[in-house]
Symmetry: C2
DNA sequence: GGATCGAGTGTAAGCGCATACAACGAGCGA
DNA sequence: TCGCTCGTTGTATGCGCTTACACTCGATCC
């Protein structure tokens, strides 16, 4: 690493001009085979790796797509304790509530994988940023300066900032509400999914007595799901306002708290509809602890389709979101916009899948 | 996005020179307050976002750290079927083996999160790359040209390529074997962890009859774990070669297959030690299906500490790797190398934690 | 055999920014 | 009052690459 070599070094070493070196790397067909090999040999010998900065500057494109997340995991609060463990190994008894579980498989992991996959397929690299700290807007700006386009997760960026950076690069919104026709937008069928699930419980399982465990007030996805729930009831002539609605916070812990309330007040419904899987898992925790049978006494359902729901017992009935596809679709929309900036706004709704499992259906046959 | 504005536009609009614009953004304290505000107003009005390429070129650093993974998920094989679903919602009965489960929470997700966190803390952005396709080396090269330093997951890059790019930027190896003193290296105490777990089984549970479900031949981590297993037996005067060793492939499916063999041949041991959690979960699947009690008849243990292991039933005894910390440590090592290129090679071993759960200990008290 | 053509290569002009250095003016001490 | 310093701003250069354009030279054509 003494001093990274440049096109000039390679050109000198191979006895050609820098333009030829550049051509060998960009459009090898334009160079005579013998020259090409000479240059490649020099590249290898000098350990030459082209600077993406210089290339991007000259070519007016970076070849990078960006993905920006809000900081839902609050990981910045981790301290450094683990780096200073006393020894190499520690043996502990891990009780169900030890808090030793690892960070859950977040929504984001899959969106990220999908994004990376699609970006790669199209020949782009992917840059990720997580909004946290005092100045998330700075991070957005920073990323915006590094990429050819950026996908942004719902509500994670103030409108003003979004508008600012969108003057430089195309922006794609993932999930959340559509914001007018200003940005391309990909999301999933939240309402239709919750509607279908509720309708199944109404029609097939004959449930009429519900409680709804809602997400935080400000979640647009949560709101859409709730709408779907209400719509299903209305379609069957039931009064949607008759079902108690408990406000949660999308966390397992909040699911536990709210369910505990329900148990303590003796107001357990026949079916507990949760706005996401985490809360539903929290509900299962509490119901099991109180000896309430699921689904015999209470049916529990979630939304998202996280892995933990499929290994819980009973396995959790849920609505699976195509999160990987969400990421892929976002990148596609972005590239399509890059190709044709003047096309009309893209707005994509990805289909969801209701997964009926033992928390609503009973033991598998 | 008509045309991204530049320093020149901002300078003209604010009636200052480009140097002043640059200063306002880089070292605001060097500029008189009134000028600063004038410039910032222009920045905002013009939707100016500085080009990281130009900045990086001029400043000779990118402000980006890289993370490179091998493609263990084989996700590129996904096709586009899901994009063409017939409707918005589909309702399906999801049996335990429907294959509808989502991609597992990979090792990588957490390494990635840790990396991003630490990079952010140090004021860097993170770029990720997954090796796949015909020319993974190209991807490595591409990333290397974009970043100030790169962390690489075990065995994912050929030595020659590694050596090539390491002439341009510092490289940190994550997990896997150390390769001489050429690179900085962070890993976990695989052997010590497996040793401690096995020793617990020997001393506390009184197990003497083992079978070992090993990973693929070429996994250095797998080899270290196996060494730990053998070491524990030797330390207690047992013959390590007496325990049958089944070769797996680190996948749940392989775990199932191998365990099925064990069941069919009636050679079930008292304890089945698996080289990772995925295989252990596969073993649990099969044992449950055959009515074999865990841990009453057979004790099962894993390695890694993935989330699915903590929601399985019985919950899986395992050795938890600090994967998030692994990512963080890699970034730290990189930055430390960046600060002082001449310091001696860094080699870090992170501690692991043996988590005793119901698959070895029986029901919680 | 000279004009024409095309493949292959070189020349040179930026791309948008950071920054060393120069320039300038106001405040200061002597 | 003169020269000096310090704070503030402008000028000019270069970071490493891509690419339009010019150029060379042997092959082709009439």
């Amino acid at each position: 690493m003494a001093k990274a070599s440049t096109v000039y070094d390679v050109a000198a070493h191979a006895g050609v001009s820098i333009a030829t070196v550049s051509r060998v790397l960009r459009r090898p067909a334009d160079v005579r085979a013998s020259t090409r090999e000479k240059v490649l040999a020099s590249v290898w010998e000098l350990g030459y790796v082209p600077s993406a900065n210089a290339r991007g500057l000259a070519a007016r494109r970076t070849g990078v797509l960006g993905l920006y997340f809000p900081n839902l995991d609050a990981m910045e609060e981790l301290d450094d304790a683990e780096f200073h463990g006393s020894g190499l190994v520690e043996v502990v008894r891990d009780m169900p509530d030890s808090g030793l579980v690892r960070p859950p498989n977040l929504y984001f992991d899959e969106v990220l994988r999908g994004s990376e996959l699609e970006a790669w397929r199209q020949g782009f690299a992917l840059m990720v940023g997580v909004g946290r700290g005092a100045f998330p807007a700075d991070m957005v700006n920073d990323i915006a300066g590094r990429v050819d386009g950026m996908a942004v997760l719902a509500q994670s960026v103030p409108d003003a900032v979004l508008e600012h950076v969108s003057r430089r690069i195309p922006i794609v919104l993932i999930a959340g509400p559509r914001r007018g026709d200003d940005y391309d937008h990909v999301s999933v069928s939240n309402a239709a999914g919750m509607d279908a699930l509720t309708t199944h419980l109404l029609d097939v399982k004959g449930v009429t007595n519900f409680a709804y465990l809602a997400g935080p007030e400000d979640s647009p996805d949560g709101a859409e799901r709730f709408d779907g729930f209400r719509r299903a009831l209305e379609n069957r002539g039931l009064d949607p306002d008759a079902s108690p609605v408990l406000r949660g916070g999308f966390s397992r812990q909040r699911g536990r708290e709210v369910t505990t309330e329900l148990v303590n007040t003796g107001m357990l419904p026949r079916a507990l509809i949760c706005a996401n899987d985490q809360m539903a898992l929290g509900a299962l925790d509490v119901l099991r602890a109180h000896g309430v049978g699921v689904p015999s006494d209470v049916i529990v359902t979630g939304f998202d389709g996280i892995e933990a729901g499929s290994t819980a017992s009973p396995r959790l009935t849920t609505v699976r979101q195509p999160m990987v596809d969400l990421g892929r679709a976002a990148m596609r929309a972005m590239l399509s916009r890059l190709e044709d900036p003047k096309q009309p706004p893209i707005s994509l709704r990805l289909p969801v899948k209701v997964l009926l499992r033992e928390s609503s259906e009973g033991p598998p046959s």
